[in-house]
């Protein structure tokens, strides 16, 4: 702070007169509505667990309400942003989104920590009584998911070069590949559950397996929803070379989900015995 001083002390002093150009953020009901919705969802999950009658119906309603509140919020932001410096707000939102992904990554880190800790403290791996996981199908699924990162990249590239039809086609292919990946994952879960009797409660190892793949699968699902939303907005022709923040966000999210999967594939499938 040694050298800090005000360039023009009087100018900083806001006590003078209200500057008509000083824009303050608009008040909004969305934050409290969304917070209430999230609180209600969490509490109703608890009531469903307790088996309270009608809790399931209420939970569905609360989830729907929360989604509506979130979309209302997103819509307000989209409208507000038209009056703002696009470059700067894009920078802010992108940065914020990266920090969000960093915290998401740390949740996965806690699960990986669990997996590797169990692995290096147990005598056998996979633990006694647990099946060795088949790797061919997951390897194909991995190729498909990693491939979808490339097709998504091409979609974004095409859009930014004005090739809107190509962009939409690449985007559709990406979504199809994502759904295929989820389908293969579901098939494997069914096989492990039904044929091998390897379930969530078989042991700590299977719990970790299902938690990690399930948590990842939930992220793929969210990513697919984002991509579907982006596709819808592409159809409406809402993106151009400057205005495509949500497209970028969906892209980063999808790459993030991919990278996490590569780590999962190596940790859960490739290096099974030690």
């Amino acid at each position: 702070m040694e050298h800090a001083s005000l360039a023009s002390p009087a100018a900083a002093h806001a006590g003078m007169h209200a500057d008509p150009s000083a824009h303050t953020p608009a008040p909004s009901f969305w934050p409290i509505l969304l917070a209430g919705g999230m609180g209600a969802v969490v509490f109703l999950v608890f009531l469903v667990y307790l088996g309270v009658p009608l809790a399931g119906v209420l939970l569905a309603a609360a989830v729907l309400y929360t989604l509506v509140a979130a979309s209302g919020w997103a819509n307000t932001i989209a409208v507000e942003r038209r009056h703002m410096d696009q470059v700067q707000t894009n920078k802010d939102l992108t940065r914020g989104f990266f920090f969000f992904l960093a915290s998401e990554g740390m949740i996965f880190v806690s699960y990986f920590e669990y997996l590797y800790y169990s692995r290096f403290t147990s005598a056998h791996w996979p633990p006694a009584g647990m099946p060795t996981l088949e790797t061919t199908l997951p390897a194909i699924a991995t190729l498909i998911l990693v491939g979808s990162s490339f097709t998504l990249n091409w979609a974004v590239h095409a859009l930014l070069h004005g090739k809107k039809t190509a962009a939409k086609n690449w985007m559709l292919l990406t979504i199809a590949m994502g759904i295929t990946f989820l389908g293969m994952q579901g098939f494997e879960w069914g096989f492990l559950n039904g044929v091998l009797g390897f379930t969530l409660t078989t042991g700590a190892y299977s719990s970790a397996y299902f938690l990690m793949t399930g948590f990842h699968g939930a992220h793929v699902t969210v990513g697919l929803l984002m991509l579907a939303l982006v596709y819808w907005r592409m159809e409406k022709g809402e993106y151009n070379q400057q205005y495509h923040m949500s497209l970028k966000a969906a892209e980063y999210y999808w790459h993030f989900v991919d990278i996490v999967w590569v780590f999962l594939f190596f940790s859960l499938y490739l290096f099974q015995s030690h």
Binding site: M1, A22, P27, S28, P31, G39, F43, M84, R95
Partner: protein
């Protein structure tokens, strides 16, 4: 979203009035005030639980509370004080002050800011409500270690509500932290480069980083715990090949950074108050910045010092013991820099300064007992005794709470335009300072003599010291009453504080003192430029 582009001619958005104004506000100053009021209310509630605990320990034969309720009180006291009081109080001051200090008109994401605050309400309702469900509130301590927290030993649904509430609070903290980071990175006034950033802002940057990286790990650990309880998974169940020790690793990977999350913003406050009151520039600004970062980084490498008796390997004990001691180096840099800033100054013993100097004294004591606990053989001896209770209360009450008092007395004029009574303030300081030392100092002795923590009863020879401690609590209570009264009294007085009541800007430039008290909705009529 962001407001740093003041487009000429933009009409002011619609404003609501009264309660609706507070509910819909996206102004960082109003959100900051709501955080602070929320923290004060929860401080009273969490403090009342501490009062019940002390009342019970005054004479356990009176059976003021049942042992089962005692465990709930002790668990909820910690949870409320940590998650609903200290973290929210610092978030409140951060929200109010950071945009002002960097010369911005608001946070980068004003709505997200409001959202992070409102998320606290359902979480708090679930925590307080859990006292009234079958089996009562969570009763296994704020760590919630399995196997004690499993469905087998904590069958009540208070534990489930506790887990869900803490996950919600985590989401709120992460959203708030992301907002702080983007705000400081993108919205500094022209010329406000990183090495001119006020130390309170620096401390929040590091705190926010720690929140983003540490809190998700707690969420992950709690998610696995909940799944063990609800879905019968085997994460922490040895019978299924799981390991309860792993929960401790994950919990403290969050829990130790959490300790710094609760003290770093306080360090930042002290770094503002001392130069202003000693009428001398802060000694060693660069060293202070590096010290905050070192604490933030090393803070992630010391977690297992909470687990010396839990069965970790000898080499892990050595590593974590040394890493923990190493953290005293950057902490020492801060302490010595504050002392050097005071040295030779023309000291004004305002209430803020008394709390700041008192903080240095009590925090050093807490740090020293921390060093003792980092020594493995000593830790094994006093683990889970009142020595540990004494240590972390010196850090959290002697550290965090003292800095919050100091910060309140220092920035109250800025936030409200009114001065807090210095005469009452002196009483508040001495009552609190004497009270907290009275209460927590003898706990060191109790611990060394072997009184276990978290137990509703004790051996008869501990009674005199316990009664002595409970009497000291009255001093802290009186300080709390006077402090609250002082705030209410000041709020009824006219706004006479002026822009810079402490003449802080004669010593070092701080932008919050360059605008009016309280600042207008848009903070600065023109975004200031800093040379």
């Amino acid at each position: 979203m962001s407001t740093h582009v003041a487009t000429a001619g933009v009409t002011q958005p619609r404003q609501y009035h009264g309660v609706l104004d507070w509910i819909t506000t996206t102004d960082h100053k109003k959100i900051g005030i709501m955080y602070i009021v929320f923290a004060l209310i929860n401080g009273w509630l969490g403090g009342s639980l501490a009062g019940l605990i002390r009342l019970n320990l005054y004479n356990p034969d009176w059976h003021i509370v049942s042992p089962a309720l005692y465990n709930q009180l002790m668990t909820m006291h910690a949870t409320i004080m940590i998650f609903l009081t200290l973290m929210t109080a610092f978030a409140g001051f951060g929200n109010y002050l950071v945009p002002l200090m960097i010369g911005a008109r608001d946070m980068a994401f004003p709505k997200l800011n409001a959202f992070a605050f409102w998320l606290l309400i359902p979480a708090a309702m679930m925590l307080y409500g859990s006292f009234f469900v079958v089996g009562g509130a969570a009763a296994d301590g704020w760590w919630s270690y399995p196997p004690l927290s499993t469905a087998q030993f904590s069958a009540g649904h208070g534990e489930d509500l506790w887990i869900l509430a803490v996950i919600l609070l985590g989401i709120s903290s992460i959203m708030g932290a992301i907002n702080f980071l983007v705000t400081v990175i993108d919205m500094r006034a022209p010329g406000m480069n990183w090495m001119k950033l006020p130390l309170f802002v620096w401390s929040w940057v590091v705190t926010a980083w720690m929140l983003v990286l540490a809190v998700p790990v707690l969420s992950g650990a709690l998610f696995m715990l909940l799944s063990d309880r609800w879905l019968n998974t085997g994460f922490y169940r040895p019978a299924l090949g799981g390991d309860p020790l792993l929960y401790q690793h994950l919990f403290w990977f969050f829990g130790h950074p959490e300790v710094y999350i609760m003290i770093l913003p306080g360090f930042g406050m002290i770094s503002h108050i001392i130069p202003s009151m000693a009428r001398k520039k802060l000694f060693g600004y660069k060293g202070m910045v590096m010290a905050i970062w070192s604490i933030g980084v090393i803070g992630f490498m010391v977690w297992a010092h909470h687990m010396f008796t839990a069965g970790i390997s000898a080499s892990a004990r050595v590593f974590f013991s040394m890493a923990s001691m190493f953290i005293s180096v950057p902490t020492g840099v801060k302490i010595y820099s504050w002392l050097a800033s005071v040295w030779g100054g023309v000291i004004r013993f305002t209430t803020a300064m008394k709390f700041a100097l008192g903080f240095i004294f009590t925090f050093v004591l807490g740090g020293l007992s921390g060093l003792m606990l980092a020594v493995v053989p000593f830790d094994i001896l006093v683990h889970n005794t009142y020595f540990v209770v004494a240590h972390f209360h010196y850090v959290l009450v002697g550290g965090s709470v003292m800095t919050l008092f100091a910060g309140t007395y220092y920035w109250f004029p800025k936030i409200t335009g009114r001065m807090l009574s210095e005469k009452l303030g002196s009483w508040v300081f001495w009552l609190f300072f004497i009270g907290m030392n009275w209460v927590f100092m003898p706990m060191h002795l109790l611990g060394i003599e072997g009184m276990a923590r978290r137990v509703a009863n004790y051996r008869i020879e501990f009674r005199p010291l316990n009664q002595f401690i409970s009497e000291g609590f009255i001093f802290m209570l009186l300080a709390g009453i006077l402090f609250t009264y002082s705030i209410i009294k000041a709020l009824r007085e006219p706004k006479t504080a002026g822009d810079d009541p402490w003449q802080a800007n004669d010593i070092e430039l701080h932008l919050e003192w360059a605008t009016s008290s309280p600042p207008p909705a848009y903070n600065f009529a023109e975004i200031p430029e800093v040379d």
